[in-house]
């Protein structure tokens, strides 16, 4: 076929289309706007209290182990964001609808944020425990490369000649990256296990026997999940508004003089 998809419909469409846009979506939007920030705030405050006040020190690792409660959920958030990015990129290439592109862009920024958190909290935790800032084990290395792919994604969007092409190219990177990351992980894993490990790496620390630790971890998971979703939502809304403003500007520029 010469043209594969219907041709993207811009987010603006006609005002008639916008009005007809289902009421449920608007209701959902209001729920998100009101409930999410509050829930996130509660979650984060609870998590901070639990991590710094409530939970006891780890028997072997001492107070440094508390970083673990932020590190692991952030890693989960990163991979979730990567999944969203991959999916949204594929959907954007397939359907051409701008909404998918906005979602992919928002996921990329949120993912970059949490990936950075993982990459900074990791070494801070590792140094006292393992005696080294960095090991080249599969997970850390893959996360680092993932971070680089995120940066490449955002740079590609910025350096493209126009927004449309930027969206398309970034989506190509998103899809290719998604396919490639598992392969990268595998290859680094083989690389490390074939050479004898210089350090014994033990992700996850000691078993979480203490129920207080389990509770803290669970709450931190929830808090960071809420935070990630809320940030994603905010970013998506910002992108929508920015597009709407640009369209209005263009319409204003086209009005006749006087």
């Amino acid at each position: 076929m010469l043209w594969k998809n219907e041709g993207s419909r811009g987010a603006q469409g006609s005002s008639a289309e916008r009005r007809g846009k289902k009421i449920p979506v608007r209701a959902a939007r209001e729920v998100y706007d009101k409930v999410l920030p509050g829930a996130t705030f509660v979650g984060v405050v609870a998590a901070l209290y639990l991590v710094f006040v409530y939970v006891p020190n780890d028997a072997y690792q001492g107070p440094v182990q508390r970083i673990f409660y932020f590190h692991v959920p952030s890693a989960m958030a990163t991979f979730a964001a990567t999944g969203v990015l991959a999916l949204a990129s594929a959907m954007f290439l397939w359907t051409g609808r701008e909404a998918w592109d906005r979602l992919a862009h928002s996921a990329a920024e949120v993912g970059l944020l949490f990936c950075s958190i993982v990459l900074t909290t990791g070494p801070i935790w590792a140094r006292p425990i393992w005696g080294t800032w960095w090991t080249w084990d599969a997970r850390l290395t893959t996360t680092l490369i993932l971070w680089l792919i995120y940066v490449a994604y955002l740079m590609l969007r910025n350096f493209a000649p126009n927004r449309e092409l930027g969206a398309r190219y970034a989506a190509v990177l998103g899809v290719v990256g998604a396919v490639d990351v598992p392969i990268i992980n595998r290859s680094v894993y083989w690389w490390r296990t074939i050479h004898p490990a210089v350090l014994r790496t033990r992700e996850g620390g000691s078993g979480l026997g203490d129920p207080r630790m389990q509770l803290t971890l669970a709450v931190c998971f929830a808090a960071i999940a809420l935070l990630a979703v809320w940030l994603l939502w905010l970013r998506y809304q910002t992108a929508r508004t920015a597009d709407a403003v640009a369209a209005l500007r263009q319409q204003a520029a086209e009005l006749p003089e006087g």
Binding site: K4, L93, I145, L148, I149, V151, A152, M155, L156, F159, A160, P161, L165, R168, Y169, A171, V172, L173, V175, V176, G177, V179, D180, I183, I184, R186, S187, V188, W190, W191, I194
Partner: protein, 219 residues
């Protein structure tokens, strides 16, 4: 697809731009890395596989970039898009051409590598060529896809390495690991796992690139 390959070969024959870039950059990288490691140190042979692959990859990034610059002049790519040909076919032809040029550059780079690292020319070199070929094909596929993208952006020389290098990490790792084993005297059977990884990566890179190239190149 044949006219496309013929065209790329003819242009290269006339200008020799891509080959010369690949060659010179590869040799320069070899030189710089050789200087970076003490020639008298016992550990120097350990640096050999990495040096070779760094030279291949860095030169490859810039060589592939050049191969698309010529399509930008006079908007020749648009002329290609006007032809009744599948976009995927254009991709495959470009990958073939780029892989061929990279392999051609190896004809000079590999002997120089042998000289710099005082290696003994043996059957191991033939095995090395197998590993290099597999790696180069995968690298050419990923590089061609993103060169088509980056050539239309600003800061294109910066963007292409940033896009391609993270994605070809499997090629680098597999290539270096296999090369190390081969230079230590092992046979191809011992590096089977890495060869499988390279072959799988090649297949995936070519197929995904073939499917997705039209999004990279059309408007």
């Amino acid at each position: 697809m044949l006219p496309l390959i013929w065209k790329d070969l003819l242009i290269e024959f006339r200008t020799k731009e891509t080959l010369v870039s690949l060659l010179m950059l590869g040799l320069l990288t070899l030189l710089v890395l050789s200087l970076a490691f003490d020639p008298l140190s016992e550990l120097r042979p350990l640096a050999a596989p990495g040096t070779l692959w760094v030279a291949v990859i860095f030169a490859g990034v810039l060589g592939i970039h050049r191969s698309f610059l010529c399509e930008r002049e006079n908007e020749c790519l648009q002329g290609l898009l006007l032809c009744p040909v599948d976009r995927g076919t254009i991709f495959l032809a470009k990958v073939f051409g780029n892989a061929l040029f990279m392999l051609g550059a190896q004809c000079v780079i590999l002997p120089v590598f042998v000289v710099f690292f005082n290696l003994f020319p043996s059957l191991a070199l033939l095995r090395l060529v197998v590993v290099l070929s597999l790696g180069i094909v995968g690298f050419a596929a990923a590089g061609t896809l993103f060169a088509a993208i980056s050539v239309r952006t600003r800061a294109r020389e910066v963007l292409l390495p940033l896009l391609v290098l993270p994605l070809v990490v499997p090629v680098l790792i597999a290539g270096v690991s296999a090369t190390a084993k081969i230079l230590a005297g092992k046979g191809l059977a011992d590096v089977a796992r890495w060869l499988h990884l390279l072959a799988g990566y090649d297949l995936l890179a070519v197929v995904v690139g073939w499917m997705i190239f039209e999004y990279a190149v059309e408007e």
